[in-house]
């Protein structure tokens, strides 16, 4: 069995990692850390795990060595931890923003923080199976993309790679509340957040840097919180190049995703689910991508569960690749309908 530890297990991404790892046939969840809740049972924080584990949180200092370690802590905390963590982890998978951007200058601009371990940036492989599958087979340091970034990357990469669109694109994200984490404050009090359409980033959403890096496009990104707990949807607009139309776009998506276990092309003629819909993906590792076009404009839409394909599920998919297991191991839940 592959031994695994989760650092920052009390948060939302941490909890989702625990759910997936406890149900993973090849993995033994050996340790879960929390600074605030050390000594407390995990299922006190994550009630869906009652009956699935008797594990308790431990202090980060109490960590031993493991075949794989997942970091589910906030940015800044991650980069401070990583140098000391690499010795403990056969494979280190970081879910924070700290090792996603190659350029520490861009990181500083978007995160208002100087990078504390820029020398380690090159050592990380993007946790993006659809594009870095080969490299992930041997990667011992993996940096998982942000949730809305992952959706934008999957939606736009084929269009960029095939030269179907001009470089300036816009990405408008719609997101549920769990994307902000469990440590969120007053603005995420239910009475304030419920039923809202809250434009919390009208411009310059941090994930635009990741999408730009991944696709080579010039990305302008916004984000609006809508009523949902899980779920991210990105609506992307691009100027069509040459004769890019729905047919050429569909073919591009087929080529890139036809064999992918976790990306489905969803662009149907009719029905309430004709384009990517996050709610039927809750708990599943799918990213659905769709499109529409009219003369001069291509629209790409993607949806995923921010905690699964936007985070923990994607991380487990990377581990599966690294360890040579079938990529879908432990990630079989298809999503619900109705939901």
């Amino acid at each position: 069995m592959t031994t695994v530890a989760v650092v920052g297990g009390s948060g939302y991404i941490g909890g989702e990692l625990l759910r997936l790892l406890l149900g993973h046939p090849e993995v033994e969840l050996a340790a879960v850390t929390s600074t605030r809740l050390a000594g407390r049972r995990i299922d006190t924080t994550h009630p869906n795990l009652r009956g699935h584990t008797d594990l308790k949180f431990v202090e980060p200092d109490a960590l031993d060595k493991y075949d794989a370690v997942f970091l589910a802590v906030a940015h800044r905390t991650a980069m401070r931890m990583v140098p000391g963590m690499v010795a403990r982890a056969g494979c280190l998978v970081d879910l924070s923003a700290d090792f996603r951007l190659r350029d520490s200058g861009v990181y500083q601009r978007y995160y208002d923080t100087e990078h504390e371990a820029p020398q380690l940036l090159d050592g990380f492989t993007p946790g993006w199976p659809e594009r870095y599958r080969e490299q992930l087979r041997e990667a011992d340091r993996i940096s998982v993309p942000g949730c809305t970034a992952m959706a934008g990357m999957l939606a736009l990469y084929p269009l960029a790679a095939e030269g179907l669109v001009e470089p300036d694109v816009t990405v408008d994200a719609r997101t549920g509340s769990s994307g902000s984490g469990a440590a969120a404050g007053n603005v995420n009090l239910h009475a304030e957040r419920s039923g809202a359409m809250r434009v919390f980033a009208p411009l310059r959403h941090r994930h635009e840097a990741e999408i730009a890096q991944a696709t080579g496009l010039r990305v302008r990104m916004s984000a609006t919180g809508v009523e949902a707990v899980r779920g991210v949807q990105v609506y992307c607009r691009a100027t069509a190049k040459d004769n890019a139309d729905e047919s050429t776009v569909r073919q591009a998506y087929r080529r890139h995703y036809g064999d992918e276990p976790f990306v489905r092309v969803v662009a149907y003629r009719s029905g309430g689910y004709r384009y990517p819909e996050p709610k039927i993906l809750s708990g599943s590792n799918y990213c659905d991508v769709g499109f529409a076009a009219e003369p001069g404009q291509v629209v790409a839409i993607a949806a995923l569960d921010n905690l699964v394909k936007g985070g923990a599920g994607n991380a487990v998919q990377c581990l599966n690749i690294r360890r040579g297991w079938p990529e879908t191991t432990g990630l079989g839940f298809p999503g619900l309908h109705p939901v």
């Binding site: 729905e246 047919s247 569909r250 073919q251 087929r254 662009a267 149907y268 003629r269 009719s270 004709r274």
Partner: protein, 56 residues
């Protein structure tokens, strides 16, 4: 069983060997409702659309 191309999106549509003329088949990729307009050889055409009105 035959593999035909969807007239709308050129996706692969499986047509059962025993399918009869005017039978309805859906394209798995784009959801178009297609009609088997001929069986020898197989040929698919878009079935008449039921208009959807989503409201404003």
């Amino acid at each position: 069983m035959a593999m035909e191309l969807c007239p709308s999106c050129r996706g692969q549509v499986v047509v059962d060997g025993s399918a009869r003329a005017s039978e309805i088949v859906e394209c798995p990729e784009c959801g178009s409702v297609l009609e088997l307009v001929s069986t020898n050889p197989f040929a698919l055409a878009l079935a008449p659309d039921v208009a959807e009105d989503w409201g404003e």
